[in-house]
């Protein structure tokens, strides 16, 4: 535990930490239980789909993953806006934007992989140049670039601004990319995932409940991951400034000798 006074706003989180930590632990446990239950229900309890057979089981995790990815980018976008807004400017938002985007990239990767595995037996190919898929792939690379920018050195202020601007631009690019891929791809297929979802919910109740559970538990997992990553980013920043203080103190001691 660090007791020295540090420049990095320690007060509000410091006092709430025990309660926050407990709440976070509950979220983490619920997320694990939820994901395990989703897998159990999805693999053993729910019936096969009339049209897709066992392939439908992948759809209990694939849409929730995609949902978490978009949720993450949305949160990253809003946090970046909050950072750029002069009244709410604080390192908190920068860290939150970074933590959220990082989780978003992981879930985008998972979405692409699970979608591809589902697409192979369903469409007969690992990949199609459908607007949704192509946009997701570009989104993945786009945010990898954003994460790379976050590592570019600079003062806190400069980095914060740079990160926030990059996040806004990346987010704005997504609809443009989607629209242009839509135009570009003349042989457009309707997004099959959505169609299947609506059909499925009318077919069997337990399938709908499993999917709903999937969405809830992946969202909880998202909250837990972002909170952990956020806390880690705070600790990293603190360690950095603490290290600097130690170095300064050592130099002062050397000077006093």
């Amino acid at each position: 535990m660090i007791t020295t006074e540090l420049p990095d706003r320690p007060t509000p989180t410091e006092t709430k930490r025990p309660l926050g930590e407990r709440a976070l632990r509950v979220v983490g446990v619920l997320a694990v239980v939820g994901v395990v239950a989703t897998v159990w229900l999805g693999l053993w309890i729910t019936p096969e789909d009339q049209f897709m057979g066992n392939l439908v089981r992948l759809l209990y995790i694939h849409p929730p993953m995609a949902w978490v990815a978009f949720l993450a980018y949305g949160l990253s976008f809003l946090s970046s806006l909050a950072y750029l807004w002069p009244r709410t400017r604080s390192a908190i938002w920068d860290r939150l934007a970074g933590a959220s985007a990082e989780v978003g990239v992981v879930f985008t990767g998972l979405t692409l992989v699970t979608g591809s595995i589902w697409g192979r037996p369903t469409w007969g190919t690992w990949w199609t140049w459908d607007p949704l898929l192509t946009t997701t792939a570009l989104l993945f690379v786009l945010y990898l670039g954003y994460l790379a920018i976050r590592h570019v050195p600079g003062t806190d202020e400069v980095r914060g601004k740079r990160n926030a601007i990059a996040a806004l631009v990346a987010f704005v690019d997504v609809p443009v990319v989607y629209f242009s891929v839509y135009l570009w791809q003349s042989l457009h297929q309707t997004p099959s995932i959505l169609n299947i979802e609506t059909r499925k919910t009318t077919v069997h109740g337990s399938m709908a409940w499993t999917l709903l559970l999937g969405f809830c538990s992946f969202t909880l997992a998202f909250i837990w991951l972002v909170a952990q990553r956020y806390r880690l980013a705070g600790l990293e920043a603190r360690e950095e400034s603490f290290g600097l203080e130690i170095a300064l103190a050592e130099r002062r001691l050397e000077g006093g000798r």
Binding site: V141, V152, K161, A166, V176, S180, V181
Partner: protein
């Protein structure tokens, strides 16, 4: 509005400066243009000596060569600012950051446009694709180049402080300009195939893209340039 007038005046100054540096150093002419030509030749080798295939893919190949060269152009555009602390000079000069952005993007756009003309002529010979509907091709070049120059100048400034600038810039640049690649390629395809009417939608997209990123760059360039 005096602010806007001075912004454009500053833009012209910076643009003239960048073009003058290029005229004297001739880096783009001696290195970027030959590189782009080499890319065109290598595309031909990669796709085999099938002239029909090359002719049908001319649009996409030319625009990929343009994208590769654009990255080099952006890197050159900022390399001239990072030697001899030229960037500090630019900041201390009191020029409007928006003007600096527009000027750098403008200089890059002019160089890219010249490159595109060369590439188009060479590709039409190498790939056996006659340049029909020249008006559509030229208009496409203009709007697409403005978009590329705006995005390139913006990300160039974003990556400026990085020691890993050379590798970071392409990673940032390519996914964002995917719509420009699609738009320019499709518009050119329409022009080359003799169906210029099909290019309209794409030209609109390219125009909106250039406008959006031009606006973003103009607004965001100030804070990015402050980057120590």
């Amino acid at each position: 509005m005096p602010g806007v007038a001075s912004m454009w005046r500053d833009a012209l100054l910076v643009m003239a400066k960048d073009l003058r540096v290029e005229l004297r150093s001739r880096v783009a002419i001696n290195q970027v243009v030959p590189f782009a030509l080499a890319v065109l030749v290598l595309f031909g080798l990669a796709l085999g000596p099938n002239l029909h295939l090359l002719a049908s893919e001319t649009a996409g190949l030319v625009w990929m060569a343009v994208l590769f060269s654009c990255v080099l152009g952006v890197q050159r555009s900022y390399a001239i600012e990072s030697t001899d602390s030229a960037k500090d000079g630019l900041r201390l000069s009191g020029l409007d950051p928006a003007g600096v952005f527009l000027g750098k993007a403008g200089a890059l756009a002019i160089q890219l446009f010249a490159l595109e003309v060369v590439l188009a002529l060479v590709a039409s010979i190498l790939y056996g694709a006659p340049l029909t509907n020249a008006l559509v091709l030229v208009v496409t070049c203009i709007v697409a180049t403005l978009g590329l120059a705006a995005v390139g100048t913006f990300y160039g400034a974003l990556a400026l402080g990085a020691r890993v600038r050379e590798t970071l810039l392409p990673l940032l640049f390519f996914p964002v300009v995917a719509p420009v690649l699609m738009g320019a390629m499709k518009a050119w395809q329409a022009g080359l195939a003799g169906t210029p009417g099909k290019a309209d939608g794409w030209l609109e997209l390219l125009f909106v893209f250039a406008l959006a990123y031009g606006a973003i760059g103009t607004v965001a360039f100030g804070p990015l340039l402050e980057d120590g």
